[in-house]
């Protein structure tokens, strides 16, 4: 029972980060029918820009409170990622909107390499230690279950962001315009909606979420690196497909399910395979689950929208 609670908790932490990143994939897919494979790199940029900010600030003003450092890091990382996300759309994808599908896909992969290379030039090849801005001192709310303030913080922030995004999309004027544009760009234009602006806003919002996910990810693993975006990017993409790409609640559910499956998988994989595989194989679970779900529900857990898009 304790192991169960512990694995659930661990799963929720990574799952809620995957969910934040998955939302970016699914929002862009919903509005453009495009997989933005460069999205994972925004997680990396968010983490490294936050790290750079924190390092610079704590160098200039030693003794600054970690919470202030964290806020400052986020306050710089989020707009930087938003700007990068905007530029990716504006320069990379906009002119390819009516091109065959392969063209934006290849562009996305190219942009991904470009961003990684730029990050490598700026921040080097080495792993950087990401400082503990939120305490990681374990607490023991009950026997056998260990939780740190950082873990609680991660889950709370991620869920608050997801709730905020749902409100934005479902209740605000911009959210309505996003949903209208996702359904039909042409008719959205006839309603006076500037579809290009709405598409740009979608990239900007998704990129902001990725920046925050990057800070949470780097905090939890205490590490930042120019290639760190690849794995969470791929997992989040998996989560988005798992939940039904194009569907926002699907991305959240997909992210959480993926985090939980990995966590339980890592905990029980040795028993399940009679010691043949150990917990370092936990990554295969993500893709096994994806495969299994797509065989039985090709449109994902909550998806029904893939088929009706041209």
């Amino acid at each position: 029972m304790e192991t169960f609670l512990q694995q659930t908790l661990n799963g929720l932490v990574s799952g809620s980060i995957y969910a934040l990143v998955a939302l970016g994939y699914t929002m862009v897919y919903g509005i453009l029918g495009l997989i933005n494979f460069a999205h994972g790199e925004l997680v990396m940029i968010g983490a490294l820009v936050a790290l750079q900010t924190v390092t610079a600030l704590s160098g200039a003003f030693p003794g600054l409170h970690p919470v202030i450092l964290l806020i400052a890091g986020v306050a710089v990382a989020v707009p930087v990622c938003m700007a990068v996300g905007y530029l990716i759309e504006r320069i990379g994808y906009r002119r390819l909107r009516n091109a065959p599908r392969l063209a934006p896909l290849i562009t996305a992969i190219g942009v991904s390499f470009l961003l990684q290379t730029l990050a490598m030039i700026i921040w080097g090849r080495e792993f950087h230690v990401f400082p503990q801005l939120v305490s990681t001192t374990p607490m023991q709310p009950m026997d056998g279950v260990v939780v740190s303030p950082l873990q609680i913080f991660t889950i709370v922030v991620a869920f608050a962001l997801m709730g905020g995004l749902m409100l934005l999309v479902n209740k605000s004027r911009l959210g309505r315009a996003m949903r209208a544009t996702a359904e039909n760009h042409r008719v959205a234009g006839l309603m006076g909606i500037n579809a290009n602006g709405v598409i740009a806003a979608t990239f900007i919002i998704g990129s902001g979420l990725a920046a925050l996910a990057g800070v949470l990810f780097a905090s939890n693993y205490a590490i930042a690196h120019y290639a760190m975006g690849f794995t969470p990017g791929l997992k989040a993409f998996t989560a988005a497909v798992l939940g039904g790409i194009g569907n926002l609640p699907g991305a959240m559910v997909g992210g959480l399910v993926l985090g939980l499956v990995e966590s339980f998988g890592a905990g029980y994989i040795e028993h399940l395979t009679f010691g043949f595989l150990n917990s370092s194989y936990q990554d295969i679970f993500a893709f096994m689950i994806l495969g299994a779900v797509l065989i039985f529900r090709p449109s994902g857990l909550l998806g029904e929208r893939v088929a009706d898009r041209a």
């Binding site: 309505r176 949903r179 359904e183 042409r186 008719v187 959205a188 234009g189 309603m191 006076g192 909606i193």
Partner: protein, 250 residues
């Protein structure tokens, strides 16, 4: 009836539209004045939808001029033409099927900030189209065709257009619903809105229109008052499903 010398709010000269190499509209002139109901009739493939889509900025033109309220709007994207007051209810209605009826109406008022004015116009739409009010929280994709058409018209009205382009609003609808929709069209022109109506049901369109254009193969081949065209033997035989010898026998 508007006098002929009022300046038209929408004025099209020599409009040409091509799809790839195919010239679908080959140089047409037309005008719509404030409060005027003008219809555009013609056989399938004549270029009516192409004309309306071009006026609304959905399809680019390759010749001629589109002047709206004294300005050349031919280069503006569709969302900016709407902001100027030129609205299109597209062929097939273009309802946002995943949004609720209320949300569809709200997208119609997207460009407006006057909350009170929007609420008042919303009430007006409900008075004109009571059925829409009953369905406010329903997902629009589940509405009947007639209800969707009403939502499409109500949504367009909420942008407060000065010129409304309507592409076959009666398509696929029962006669009673068609009658209702024509009543609504008539009542909006009384408030000063100009309407350019594309209709398959030429008889009905000509009856209610002050003026009309007949399109054929991308050109306007006839124009005149609705009444004159109704009595025109060529129109009668080609578009009103009447055989000439029937007329002779009568």
């Amino acid at each position: 009836m508007r006098t002929e010398n009022t300046t038209p709010i929408l004025e099209v000269r020599g409009l040409k539209v091509a799809y790839g190499g195919i010239q679908a509209v080959k140089g047409i002139d037309l005008q719509v004045r404030e409060g005027e109901l003008v219809s555009l009739i013609g056989a399938n493939g004549a270029g009516k939808t192409t004309t309306l889509n071009t006026l609304a900025g959905v399809v680019p033109h390759n010749g001629g001029e589109i002047r709206y309220a004294g300005q050349d709007v031919g280069k503006l994207p569709s969302h900016l033409r709407l902001r100027k007051g030129l609205a299109l209810v597209p062929e097939g209605r273009g309802i946002f099927t995943r949004l609720t009826v209320a949300e569809n109406l709200q997208t119609g008022a997207y460009t407006r900030r006057d909350t009170d004015g929007i609420a008042a116009d919303m009430e007006k739409v409900f008075t004109l189209l009571p059925r829409v009010k009953e369905r406010l929280n329903q997902v629009a994709g589940t509405l009947s065709g007639g209800e969707q058409q009403m939502v499409a018209i109500g949504r367009a009205l909420l942008s407060r257009p000065q010129v409304l382009l309507l592409d076959e609003p009666s398509m696929g609808l029962a006669p009673l619903v068609v009658e209702k929709i024509f009543e609504v069209i008539h009542s909006i022109t009384r408030e000063g809105m100009g309407v350019l109506l594309v209709e398959q049901n030429a008889n009905l369109a000509l009856e209610v229109s002050e003026r009309a254009y007949v399109m054929e193969g991308g050109l306007v081949t006839l124009e005149g008052t609705g009444k004159a065209l109704l009595d025109d033997p060529k129109v009668r035989s080609a578009y009103l499903g009447e055989e000439i010898d029937q007329g002779l026998a009568a």
